[in-house]
Symmetry: C2
DNA sequence: CTAATAGTGTCTATCAGACACTATTAG
DNA sequence: CTAATAGTGTCTGATAGACACTATTAG
């Protein structure tokens, strides 16, 4: 796509009424992120910021999602990564946008648009400061500030839809892995049991056999798989 | 949800660094909307704003989606409805949010976040001013300004997903209607032919028979249906 | 009658779940 | 050997598409 970039000063544009961009009201824009992970052998969990003494009135005493305000020239995904760098020293995150929450009463500090995001973090990569944040199971969510519970619901539904028919789109498992490991991951995300043989058949199209097996535990050795690259 | 509303002045809040909300950069926020409709006996169409003499440099000579900047205290959905009131005198619209486009180079006028929306309009309700906008088939989209082609693709995919297994979630058809009418609608939205008997069986769970038939045309009279309320 | 469209019964391939069976290891 | 886990073959019921057939109208 060819585009001439004149790089004009910000106020060069005037609309039919003679107004510049600066004449339009500009809301504050925040990003708030649901950080989802599956701890070793656990259920689907989410990272929540603990309430603290510096919280404003509307958030007082309640957990909330990690978030930040958008900085000058910053992209939304960059703001998400920046906001998470403090809480979890993780890399390789891939924020996905969920929805913009624009309810004027959502935040008592003023008019704030919140662009909700979701990221998934492999349990092995999640490093959190337990004094600042808590890792909570998604079916034990406390009362959240800023109506963040709606973001949590969207994030969980989004992740479940993604994992419905694909082995590990968010790379939550370290390859190579066994079908047993993969099924445990899917059951944690879905929050339900999955029939063993149906699961195997649903997944095998998306997996590549390594030829190796996991030894050393009781029982028949399980074959190790990796994600099928593409086909 | 109980919340105390102190209704503080906008700058009352100070973050840990002592900054108020006003100290954060606040981008312009626009809404841009894909208006989708199925004209009588036609294919899925979209309303595009024609290029005009008042367009800024980056839009010059290219069609674009109807859009506007967010006004003070206005909700996103309200801005969408306001922007469409000029182009199409329609009511009962139900804007759905698709995605925020935050590419800094997307708009030469400055930093503008665009919150993309989609609405669907029944052909019988769509009144457009042909000098200002054009109704174009979605598979004959011209080169669009502000990278609006990405919004069109999202909007079409969203509508197709909605109609995949539900008779008429967006009320594009005036009830009562025949299965033939409904199938023509679905084929226009999907852009493909659909097997007649499979379609009937897929839809019949979501329909209520009226007991009446449509007469007056050649052939066996077709039964008239309405949408099943709920079950 | 013929042409045209609406409506239905049934066959088949596919797929998900249930279930029973075999396979291979630790101890 | 037993206990435990991995892996597979097959049955059944639900579903989608193909297809042929019947039904009812206009003219």
């Amino acid at each position: 796509m060819e585009r001439e970039r004149a790089n004009p000063p910000r106020d060069a544009y005037r609309d039919p009424g003679g107004r510049t961009l600066a004449d339009y009201p500009r809301p504050s824009v925040a990003v708030d992120t649901a950080v989802l992970t599956v701890p070793e052998g656990g259920a689907l969990g989410i990272v929540l910021v603990r309430p603290g003494p510096g919280d404003d009135a509307s958030a007082r005493g309640r957990h909330r999602l990690p978030g930040t305000f958008l900085h000058e020239g910053e992209r939304l995904a960059e703001a998400v990564l920046r906001s998470l760098r403090d809480k979890a020293g993780v890399t390789g995150l891939d924020p996905r946008q969920l929805h913009v929450f624009d309810d004027p009463d959502r935040d008592d500090r003023g008019r704030v648009l919140s662009v909700a995001h979701v990221v998934t973090v492999a349990a092995r990569d999640l490093v959190i400061d337990e004094t600042k944040v808590a890792l909570v199971s998604v079916d034990r969510i406390p009362d959240l500030a800023y109506r963040h519970d709606a973001i949590v619901r969207l994030a969980v539904a989004s992740l479940r839809a993604e994992y419905a028919s694909v082995p590990d789109p968010r790379h939550l498992l370290e390859p190579p892995f066994t079908l047993h490991d993969l099924q445990a991951l899917h059951e944690a995300i879905a929050g339900t049991r999955i029939p063993r043989d149906a699961f195997r058949r649903a997944m095998q199209g998306g997996l590549t056999e390594t030829g190796r097996s996991r030894r050393g535990v009781v029982g028949k050795p399980a074959r190790l798989f990796t994600i099928r690259s593409s086909s």
